[in-house]
């Protein structure tokens, strides 16, 4: 009885896990990171450049369905959104659907968090999700 229950629980967890990601597969060794700024950087300029780092995968603009590609989304001062639906489009979730690999950012003074998430042609995160480390920058 106990064993059946455990089995059912494991199955449920697996279902729950697969539901928490989109349907577009990505290469296992793909790696997403913020090339610049580095975690903890203090920025004194009004505007600064953010480099989107991506390895073992390519970029395609939104709406373009090609295996092993996606496009960048920058999360600003927010957590990772639900992984099985379209990434919101607002000032905390910036879309780079034109295939950009960098951007200029202007943020008010203070501490801010930045994190990248790659999504498919329909802005839905990949399976498994591809998310960068979350970094903190301080604007002076």
């Amino acid at each position: 009885m106990n064993r059946i229950f455990t089995g059912a629980l494991v199955a449920l967890c697996l279902v729950a896990q697969s539901a928490a990601a989109g349907e577009t597969p990505r290469p296992r060794n793909a790696y997403l990171y913020i090339g610049w700024p580095q975690d903890g950087t203090v920025i004194t300029e009004d505007e600064f450049r953010v480099w989107f780092g991506l390895r073992n995968m390519g970029i395609a603009p939104a709406g373009v369905r090609k295996p092993n590609t996606g496009h960048h989304h920058l999360l600003i001062d927010t957590g990772v959104p639900p992984l099985n639906e379209e990434i919101p489009n607002d000032k905390h979730h910036r879309h780079f659907g034109a295939g950009q690999s960098e951007t200029m950012l202007e943020l008010p003074p203070g501490r801010h968090t930045l994190q990248l998430i790659l999504a498919d042609h329909e802005h839905i995160p990949l399976n498994p999700p591809l998310v960068s480390q979350k970094i903190t920058v301080t604007i002076r």
């Binding site: 390895r55 970029i59 295939g99 950009q100 690999s101």
Partner: protein
């Protein structure tokens, strides 16, 4: 005399204008677009010769080869070679490497010696833009392999 130089200047400009369209492809490059090498910096010494080349693109997006989208292109890496003709498809061989998968980083492996690297963007058909978008040509140095450096790489 000033009249002659003006005349010569005008002739030069006229030649430049007529020569212009023939030396580029037909896909327009967005205004202010720029292609550059983020890493390595020119003159960098790379022990072992294996590294990730990071390719930068300002004011233009990346699209895989075959995808025709305005204001996009894909990267080509030129290793130890000159810029190719701008009005035809970029060659595809060991000196001209295509990143038609929309990659923004390229795994490069070079033997010991001095090498030049330059990035050139091509459109959906691998033809450079008008005006062409290419990076500065950088030099990297791979030092000779030493016995304690391990057995990776090819000995020359």
């Amino acid at each position: 005399m000033p009249r002659l130089s003006t005349c010569l200047a005008a002739a030069f400009v006229a030649t430049a204008l007529t020569a212009g369209p023939a030396v580029a492809g037909s896909t327009p490059a967005p205004e202010n677009a720029q292609v550059y090498i983020i890493w390595p910096k020119s003159g960098r010494v790379i022990p072992g010769g294996k590294f990730w080349l990071r390719m930068g693109a300002k004011n233009i997006g990346i699209a895989p080869a075959g995808v025709k989208k305005k204001n996009t292109g894909h990267h080509h890496v030129i290793i130890n070679a000159k810029l190719p003709p701008f009005d035809e498809e970029i060659p595809s061989n060991k000196n001209y490497r295509h990143f038609g998968g929309g990659q923004t980083e390229a795994r490069i492996e070079l033997p010991p010696g001095r090498h030049t690297i330059q990035v050139l963007m091509g459109d959906h058909e691998h033809i450079p833009h008008d005006p062409p978008l290419y990076s500065e040509r950088i030099t990297v140095i791979v030092p000779p392999q030493t016995s304690e450096a391990g057995s990776t790489g090819t000995a020359q």
